[in-house]
Symmetry: C2
DNA sequence: TAAATAAATGACAACGTCGACATTTTTTCT
DNA sequence: AGAAAAAATGTCGACGTTGTCATTTATTTA
């Protein structure tokens, strides 16, 4: 591998002068610079970051640690936001996943330390509470899409699920719906709880009665291994006589909403005229392809990623972070299903 | 930052002995090893990979270069497969995206070289032909989901779109369908061409007549900025009288299939009894949530990623790669829509 | 024109680790 | 016990780069 010394010899200058050219330092005569640049091009020299790092002890790389492999549509947005912000700042990105186990997480922390990463974005695929496998984190860390209730000084960025649920429920109430059902995510999930509470509060404030029997789980089974049952649940709701049937169904996510719309079709109930459907997450693959297009609450994962990256960068820059936990608004995207 | 010398001083041994302990070399007395390990734990020492790399000039990290940010459902599977195989081999993964521009790609190649990556997986989000921005690639490279027709010696792994299209079309023919329509992807895309050719061949072989008017584009506009028109196209097909209407519709992907099913519902045409629908890609989010569940051709992106990673590892291990271009089979996933 | 100042370049050490080789300690053998 | 062999540990330098400081060269000033 060609090194700075090879270039120096080839150009007939000292290695330090080559270093100056490479790092665009001011005091190099134009003629010298040119000579060196030619040599660099000629020999195909590329500086060795590892050697640089050895002197500076700063790698210029940020690590993303995720629980499950980055395999869901959410995570993809999230990572996109992170990447965009970090590459603006000239930082590299190293992605590693823990497999969701404590051992795995410890191994990743170690790798990150070995590579002297500048900082870490600790991201989960679902909004949840977490406990780090290494306390305190050995590198500057920002939590993404999760929070650590027992470590309130760890910065975090999460979606405001309560606000999202509130906005959706209030919208349905404002549209005049009086009989509103809610098919939820797996109830153990943080997001499900927050959205459920928001649903209740919004309807109470709007004076819309809440029917406990119409708050139904769209999934069954343990978190991570649940099976879908939204189609069945929705079919039962929609089989009720016209004047007893819900006129609106709020859904824990867009996949549930797709099943609800499928159930409505099967039951010959028209969306949105007979029953309005509101989704959650705005998975474009579903929301913009099903007809009618889905009215849904967008989860701003791209922005969450971007914000988290920004927060980490400011942390690394030595800024004091005032607001520890950012909650990002979830906008209602009105399309045709409600 | 605590270095090997700090540990050595603390444990009262030489730095080389610490090095031996860290690298699990045999010839260290148990008592010494223990002393050193205590010191390591006490001081929180973590070896510096950069310094190691400086001696060995091998980073143990493989780069993934993608065109568009890893943001589609495909890419997520792909990267998952790559990651799983590489972490088996103890390699790290560095993901970077080129933004689809030549400058961006050059910058990424440079970064990869600066970090002395062991090798590169060059992945695209859609199966396509590519020309590298740097020829020949300065690091060992395997193309993933794309191929370079003018550089036949570059190893690549791609889905066998022809075979997938063939299997799907033959299945419909075997089920006895005589009137089969095909709503395609953007016709410029490689996958669309291969699948289209397979569609024609399969029907010819089965003796099913091909109606040119029934091969219709589901998208319009340039690649990357197309708009969906599958719902409209399908609605027109399904508005035909019962005995002139297609009895089966093959779709370029699952998003198209979802629109076709939506159109069928709107037209009060039953799936699969009146019209069978076959998708492509097996996007689980759609295929397992829409009712009826989608019969579709799976794109083995996870396996493609895994295979590509494996291929690169063998390349790095000095093995000679006999088969330059791997085509991965696309299995038909039979569910309820056909 | 010589001295004074500024600009350009170079010599050398240091970063953290490990390979090559040297030295010391322990064990085995006669 | 003393010599020989084996095991354990240490010394030193090199990897590629850049910071510090010294030196050379060019430019300005009196």
């Amino acid at each position: 591998m060609v090194s700075i010394k090879d270039v120096a010899a080839y150009a007939g200058v000292s290695d330090k002068t080559v270093s100056r050219v490479v790092n665009r330092e001011a005091s190099v005569k134009a003629a010298t610079r040119e000579k060196v640049e030619d040599a660099i091009k000629e020999l195909g020299y590329v500086p060795n970051q590892a050697a640089r790092l050895m002197r500076s002890n700063r790698s210029g790389v940020v690590g993303i640690m995720t629980d499950v492999v980055a395999r869901t549509a959410n995570s993809v947005e999230l990572i996109g936001g992170i990447q965009d912000r970090l590459s603006e700042a000239g930082k590299g990105v190293l992605i590693a996943n823990t497999g969701g186990t404590e051992d795995g997480e410890q191994a990743v922390w170690r790798t990150f330390q070995e590579h002297r990463l500048d900082g870490v974005l600790y991201a989960t695929m679902f909004h949840q509470h977490v406990t780090l496998a290494v306390e305190p984190p050995p590198l500057p860390t920002v939590l993404v899409n999760c929070s650590a209730p027992d470590k309130p000084d760890l910065p975090s960025v999460v979606p405001d699920d309560f606000e999202g649920g509130y906005v959706a429920a209030r919208y349905l109430a404002q549209e005049g719906h009086k009989r509103i059902a809610y098919i939820t995510l797996n109830p153990q999930i943080v997001a499900a709880k927050l959205r459920g509470a928001a649903f209740q509060q919004a309807l109470e404030e709007a004076g819309v009665p809440i029917n406990g029997d119409w708050i139904l789980a769209g999934y069954e089974g343990p978190v991570g291994a649940e099976t879908m049952r939204a189609f069945r649940v929705a079919s039962e709701l929609l089989a009720l006589p016209d004047d007893e049937r819900p006129t609106a169904i709020m859904c824990g996510n867009d996949e549930i909403a797709l099943q609800v719309i499928s159930a409505a079709h099967a039951a010959r109930v028209t969306v949105p005229d007979d029953v309005a459907v509101v989704g959650f997450d705005d998975f474009k693959m579903i929301s913009t392809n099903v007809v009618p297009n889905l009215t849904t609450v967008g989860l701003p994962y791209y922005d969450i990623g971007k914000r988290a990256a920004d927060k980490l960068l400011r942390l690394l820059g030595g800024e004091t972070i005032e607001i520890r936990s950012d909650k990002m608004a979830c906008p209602l995207v009105v399309r045709d299903s409600a």
